[in-house]
Symmetry: C2
Subunit: 297 residues, 2 copies
């Protein structure tokens, strides 16, 4: 193996240290960052995820309240609840846990979160601000993947980047974040004629598709960075395992750097959620102070 394996937990810990410092400052200003997690129905998978977020929040100095509503809650009721949270000054960020019951369209809830409290970076206005390159709150996974690439000794300006997967919350935001850093970006997806043609030309490959082993070593330029965002449960002779979208062994033979799954982008994503929490809190503080200043001119 020639590739350096990127330690996502270490990157996340550094990020959390910054968040702790900022959270401390904000608390001293009377704006202690506070997240509210909204989940609907009984979902064991989500609960595990929420408990992890809660743990990370506490270690980052961010208050975290997990709310669970019964599966039969209506869309109108949930939007009412979100509007309440939007108007509550003691709530600085709102997380909508997936999966949701079938009668609840996730986008409708995401659009109901006030952009200033959109710590998941899912509101159309948040996404639009990425395009406008004034990144307020970005989608956590995309921001995390880019933050990891930025820790490598690569010049982002002019870097040839291929993004495999064009989802609204991961692939496309990564593309626009990288463009904002000056990279030349190609976005591939299931309709792309030859993904390998594009991935082999890239100095850095992001893959976020959800297909184990989709990217193999022969698709990677020697020395390139492979940032693997996939999280797939697979059955192996030794029982079930969690793997990414890249075939780790063959890619690690060719790549210069590679993120493992688990332990790569995942931990940094949760740390990014906490970073968004302190960013959102500061934006809200500034917003309230501006309005206050204006009304008193």
């Amino acid at each position: 193996m020639r590739a350096a394996v990127i330690d996502g937990k270490a990157v996340a810990e550094e990020l959390r240290a910054d968040v702790r410092t900022e959270a401390q400052k904000l608390s001293e200003l009377g704006w202690s960052p506070r997240l509210v997690s909204v989940s609907v129905g009984e979902t064991a998978a989500a609960e595990l995820y929420v408990r992890n977020q809660q743990k990370q929040a506490e270690s980052a100095g961010v208050e975290f309240e997990a709310r669970n509503y019964p599966a039969e809650t209506s869309l109108e009721q949930l939007i009412g609840i979100l509007q309440g949270l939007n108007h509550d000054p003691r709530v600085n960020g709102i997380i909508i846990q997936r999966p949701l019951p079938e009668h609840i369209p996730v986008k409708a809830l995401q659009k109901a979160v006030h952009p200033l409290k959109d710590v998941e970076g899912m509101h159309p206005a948040s996404i639009g601000n990425i395009v406008y390159n004034d990144l307020a709150l970005g989608p956590c996974t995309a921001v995390a993947a880019v933050e990891i690439l930025k820790t490598l000794p690569l010049q982002m300006e002019g870097l040839n980047v291929t993004v495999i997967g064009h989802s609204e919350i991961v692939g496309k935001p990564i593309a626009f974040l990288m463009m904002g850093l000056g990279a030349t970006v190609t976005v591939c997806h299931h309709m792309t004629r030859s993904v390998a043609m594009h991935s082999r030309a890239a100095d850095a490959v992001f893959v976020a598709v959800g297909k184990p082993g989709l990217v193999t070593g022969d698709m990677i330029k020697p020395g390139a960075a492979v940032i693997d965002i996939g999280i797939n449960r697979v059955e192996t002779p030794d029982g079930p395992r969690t793997v990414g979208d890249a075939d780790f062994e063959s890619c690690a033979e060719v790549a210069g750097w590679i993120t493992p799954v688990p332990g790569g982008v995942g931990p940094v994503t949760v740390a990014t959620l906490m970073k968004n929490a302190v960013l959102a809190t500061r934006m809200q503080m500034d917003h309230y102070r501006d309005s206050y200043a204006r009304t008193n001119v």
Copy 2:
């Protein structure tokens, strides 16, 4: 010359015919589409542009009111004016004419236009909705360029597209719009190491940079489509001329299709503004009816 020259005026006229029909329908429903153009200060160039929009609006069955405010109008006053227009049900679309006086940041005004009245498609939420691939009101120039490509006998799914220029209002939106159609998109810009490497691999090249002659025939794959969005005034021995970013003669030798400048993307852009006007009017009608229905349940 081997390339077929795309007649933008013809594409625009077809688009306007659809707009006329839709505008007629809306008028019969009591929702006659109406645009308000806001310009600030004396700008001869803008006036010419506004008169052209007015002419196009009339021929498309869209009412058009041109407002001009004195150069010394403050940002706060202008935002107040926009908020008034946002709340006026007889106004369906707001156009902010550039250039603006130096003390007026254009983005601040664009963000002050209600997304439902954002016929120029400049609001962050409008841009975000393009990323989310539910195109409500898109930036006119980008939408126009893509509409022109769609008139060609090309399969958009899997098409290799290179966009040269990554501005927020043209290059990036073209990239998402093409991704939404299933194309594999590469975005190049001034930091790209080799634009030719990417443009030669493309079945369709969009160029929107503002550099006359930037794209030459040797950068184009034989038979590819060249959509030229540049508008540049240049001095020639025979006096000043308007040219695009592509060197028309050499590109036309190689390309399968090419848009002329003038007479290519330009006319379609104005027609797209009118299309956005009727789209916005229908969205507002549906929005008011929904709210009305809900309050009467």
